[in-house]
């Protein structure tokens, strides 16, 4: 598809203004605030996984803080009674119950450890299978039951579909692993009070949501809370609010409003992090002998821990393929483990680990390659070859993301899959290791879930440049470029003339939504597309009042265009004014605007006009080639080919980097990550980087990574762009499938990824 030529967007020479700050150590994260004039807060956490803090006869909690208060340097203590987000009820081991404010962090940590708490201990349930059984002890995560009402999606007649099928596979799959964000910057907040006004800096992906959470928890007026974030040292879906915001505000109040910095220690942070939920599924899939998928029935459980949200998402299976008779039923299970949540994706990774396994098994039964099975059933428009058909489950909506087929063919062609693929367990390399290769891909739900309206604003300065006010976090690098590139393109400004004046300041900004690889482009990017259009109208209107345009009768702003920071008359480009000239003597221009990712923006589709609500999403495919040593269980990635439909690549360098990091995270998910809990207490054992099996550079050979950003000119999203942060990561299942192609065994991911020990166990050697 021919792409509309653009002037700024996609220019590989564009760099993010944040880079120099990062490289010189000047990017300010929340803990880089108020040097030397702050107190420090630390938590006391629960040593039981379920129960209640005991109360005395007067109803006071049996929490002895006397030893902590006696420590030199301790200024105050708080308990759950002071902090609205903490509770008397305990639902997982390591839950914050009290805190200490002290002169320095080490004293605060030491003093917190001296607090003693008496508990009424309740029965625990850590095993999600057990928790889902009738009669199981209640975990307390939900009232009266450990399970949610199943979430069910149905289309067609599933039973009839299986009757029509020539081949049916049924797989009762094991639990996937659970793993956490491990982000380098721990949860924390610096808070202080000036009179009745609360100020706080935090590391947040969504500072406006964080502010709202603090406002609601403390019950104070929104205009009395001033929340800020600049750099955010990794979030991956965990820092969507204001981590430690409420405890820090309460601690500060307790010491007369002095600035208090609460930073969770690494073990506490690793426990309070939300983490990717573990899931298991029974999947039955039926097909005709020619490979046409006819029916699919999925029953799944998601372990959400103590109070998590999100559940396994079969969006990719449900929507990537034409399966006329389809049903999935997902039940969420509550246990006494730490809470689950988004991890670089809301729920697609564990689902892909399950359904890609079934697709490959079915292909084997059909005597087809797994690639051919997928391509035969991709839900593409037979006329256009693109994903622009109405959604199967929402027929009044068209798709925004259209490039999945191209992603598949790109990795297929570049990997040499056609010559490298072989039947399972049939290729031995010269060194005795087994060779395997696999391709997976999917539509990812991110575009659709980020369908909320976002906002932004800008000021055109007297020198004719644009200064943006962004309501999100400055980090990661690339967040800025999305906003500035879109505004520069829309205004016809040179890239260097558009800069961000303020980030993440809730006093002066409209919510920009979540700063993340998936949501930012569609959310904040759409907002600044509107902002740019509004500013363009204002600038052109101002230009019409000045020579030479005011000497030409009858022209309107529609007769003007702009390029390289100059306005010109379309019919006579020699008649021109620079933006600096336009703004000379003109009152400052300040405009705002909002946008929503999930609308047709760049063009009409299927006769539906621009502005129509549509589905929008990311899509990606990955081919992975592995060598498996069946004596040691070690896996070497021989090559990975990762193609992502960007819709439109806005920030070339950042996009390539995001996809390369996607390769690393696929490997981490498949072969490394995994929470480990003590089975008796529910305590998180993997509370440090080493125990959490976080890979290092020694584990990665980036020389075998190959990435491709494909531009499909999406009909939704600003200039057709959509977020690419998560779809590439979800293809971790390609590694699992490649190991199967090599060895003929499926790795059991329960309690950890595909470590050598797990692979040997699958091979019957451990």
């Amino acid at each position: 598809m021919a792409l509309t030529p653009l002037n700024v967007i996609g220019d590989p020479t564009n760099k993010d203004q944040a880079i120099n700050l990062i490289l010189t150590g000047k990017m300010d994260y929340y803990a880089d605030r108020l040097p030397g004039r702050k107190l420090y807060g630390a938590y006391k956490t629960s040593t039981i996984a379920h129960g209640n803090i005991k109360l005395d006869a007067s109803g006071n909690p049996l929490i002895d803080t006397s030893k902590a208060l006696a420590e030199p340097g301790v200024k105050a203590v708080v308990t759950y009674k002071d902090v609205p987000t903490w509770t008397q009820g305990i639902f997982y081991w390591g839950q914050p119950v009290a805190g200490v404010v002290a002169d320095d962090w080490f004293t605060a940590i030491r003093a917190a450890s001296l607090i003693t708490v008496q508990y009424d201990v309740a029965a625990t349930v850590f095993d999600p299978d057990a928790a889902a059984q009738p009669g199981s002890p209640l975990s307390g995560g939900a009232p009266n039951s450990n399970t949610s009402t199943p979430s069910v999606v149905t289309r067609g007649d599933v039973n009839a579909g299986f009757t029509q099928s020539d081949v049916v596979v049924q797989a009762d799959l094991p639990w996937t692993t659970t793993y956490q964000h491990n982000m380098l910057e721990p949860h924390g907040t610096v808070a202080w009070w000036v009179g009745d006004d609360l100020y706080f800096w935090t590391g947040s992906q969504d500072i406006h949501s964080g502010k709202n959470a603090v406002v609601n928890s403390l019950g104070i007026a929104a205009n009395k809370v001033h929340a800020f974030t600049h750099g955010t040292g990794g979030g991956h879906g965990d820092k969507t609010g204001a981590p430690c915001g409420v405890p820090a505000a309460v601690m500060s109040k307790k010491v007369g409003g002095a600035a208090v910095q609460v930073v969770e220690t690494r073990p506490v942070n690793m426990t309070t992090n939300t983490r990717q939920f573990d899931a298991k599924a029974s999947i039955k899939m039926g097909a005709k002998n020619d490979g046409t998928l006819v029916a699919c029935d999925v029953t799944a459980l998601s372990n959400t821990g103590a109070s998590g949200f999100f559940a396994i998402a079969f969006y990719g299976l449900q929507n990537s393929y034409t399966i006329p008779n389809y049903r999935h039923s997902v039940t969420t299970v509550f246990t006494n483990q730490p809470s689950r949540g988004a991890w670089r994706c809301v729920g697609d990774p564990p689902a892909a680990q399950e359904y890609d396994r079934v697709l490959d098994t079915l292909a084997e039964k059909l005597n087809m390659t797994p690639y051919d099975l997928r391509m035969k059933n991709l839900r593409v428009n037979p006329q256009t070859g693109a994903f622009d058909l109405p959604a199967q489950d929402a027929p009044n909506r068209v798709w925004g993301g259209i490039g999945l087929k191209d992603c598949f063919t790109t990795v297929y062609n570049n990997s040499g899959y056609a010559t490298k693929w072989h039947k399972t367990g049939t290729k031995t390399l010269a060194d005795g290791r087994m060779h395997g290769i696999a391709i997976t891909g999917h539509l990812d739900s991110h575009g659709s879930v980020n369908g909320a309206t976002r906002g932004g604003s800008l000021v055109i300065t007297a020198d004719g440049k644009a200064l943006l006010i962004v309501g999100g976090a400055r980090g990661s690098e690339g967040a800025e470029t999305i906003c500035t590139s879109i505004v520069a393109e829309t205004l016809g400004m040179v890239y260097a003339d558009v800069r961000v004046g303020e980030w993440g300041n809730t006093d002066v900004s409209i919510t920009g939504g979540i700063q993340a690889g998936s949501g930012w482009t569609g959310g904040a990017g759409s907002a600044f597309y509107t902002v740019g259009q509004n500013a363009r109208t204002a600038l052109f209107t101002a230009a019409l009042t000045k020579a030479p345009f005011n000497t030409i009768s009858g022209i309107t702003i529609n007769d003007l265009d702009a390029k390289n920071s100059s306005v010109f008359l379309k019919s006579d480009p020699t008649k021109t004014l620079t933006y600096r000239q336009v703004m000379s003597g003109t009152a400052p221009i300040a405009v705002g605007g909002t946008g929503w990712a999930a609308t047709l923006r760049s063009r009409s589709v299927g006769g539906l006009p621009i502005g129509t609500v549509c589905n929008t999403n990311g899509d990606a495919a990955t081919c992975t080639e592995v060598a498996v040593d069946t004596e040691t269980g070690q896996v070497e990635i021989l090559g990975t080919w990762n193609a992502v439909d960007t819709g439109r690549t806005i920030y070339k360098n950042g996009t390539i980097k995001e996809m390369l990091s996607g390769c690393e995270l696929q490997i981490a998910q498949s072969l490394f990550y995994g929470d480990v809990y003590d089975s008796a207490t529910g305590a998180l054992i993997s509370s440090f980087y080493t125990e959490a099996m976080v890979p290092t550079a020694m584990d990665m050979n980036g020389g075998v990574f190959n990435v491709y950003d494909l531009e499909s000119d999406d009909s939704a999203g600003p200039y057709g762009a959509h977020g690419i942060g998560e779809p590439c990561v979800t293809n971790a299942s390609s590694i699992t499938c490649a190991i199967y192609n090599a060895t003929g065994v499926w790795v059991d991911f329960n309690h950890g990824a595909g470590t050598p020990n797990k692979i040997l166990k699958a091979l019957g050697k451990a």
Binding site: G25, K26, P35, K657, V694
Partner: protein
């Protein structure tokens, strides 16, 4: 700065130091009054003049009343007289980015804590505080060192400490910073100063490292965003 010099410049020394942008080659700290007890020399370069005018100043700040003294002996004499029930002990002189700073520290203060929370050098990050992630890496006598595992009192004695702030003049990137720039070897940026200092430590010992050399040098570092390939490329000089 004498009153006469103050009149000439139109700035008090405190006001001058508060403008970190005018302090080049010294510690970019807003005001040393934040330190528990601090003395040191700061090289001031007024970048608005050509050639630059460089002035070396020394000051020692009372951690209790904030008064400034030209020598450590002067401060100690004042402190003993003004605060007879307090003590000015556990002083350590750290040479950071080429300048000496004398600070009062606790026995268990880590170098990371002192650099960040006493000196305001926030470029050094603390992510795990257990020596498992490398974000706090600084150079001590040119060798990459985890500052969260180093006590501040161990880092004195004339050892040369270099932090990310001392790698360049803050305006022009150093060669390794430029390689990180060219390779986009970062994402959220929190681990990046540690990776850069580790890379610089490797380059100090081996000017032409291989990819395996680079991977080994950063093997104690964690990047959860997933940028090891880019970091290795940056350290080895590829783009």
């Amino acid at each position: 700065m004498s009153e006469e010099e103050k009149k000439k410049s139109g700035l008090s020394r405190r006001e001058f130091l508060k403008d970190a942008g005018l302090v080049v080659g010294g510690a970019t700290i807003g005001s040393m009054a934040f330190l528990s007890a601090c003395g040191g020399t700061t090289t001031e370069t007024k970048t608005v003049t050509s050639p630059p005018v460089t002035t070396t100043i020394s000051k020692f700040i009372d951690p209790i009343d904030g008064t400034e003294w030209p020598t450590l002996a002067d401060l100690q004499a004042h402190f003993a007289a003004a605060h007879p029930f307090a003590s000015l002990t556990n002083l350590v002189t750290l040479n950071v980015n080429g300048l000496d700073y004398t600070l009062q520290v606790d026995d268990m203060d880590t170098l990371a804590f002192v650099l960040r929370d006493k000196m305001g050098l926030f470029g050094t990050k603390v992510a795990c505080d257990y020596g498992q992630c490398g974000a706090c890496t600084v150079l001590v006598d040119g060798v990459a060192t985890f500052s969260c595992l180093t006590l501040a009192i161990e880092a004195g004695g004339g050892k040369k400490i270099q932090t990310i702030e001392g790698l360049s003049d803050g305006i022009t990137l150093s060669p390794i910073q430029k390689k990180f720039y060219d390779n986009d070897a970062f994402q959220c940026g929190y681990c990046t100063p540690g990776f850069i200092m580790a890379g610089q430590g490797l380059l100090n010992a081996n000017a032409k490292p291989t990819a395996d050399d680079a991977r080994l040098a950063i093997s104690g570092h964690i990047c959860v965003c997933g940028n090891y390939k880019k970091v290795v490329d940056a350290i080895t000089g590829g783009v």
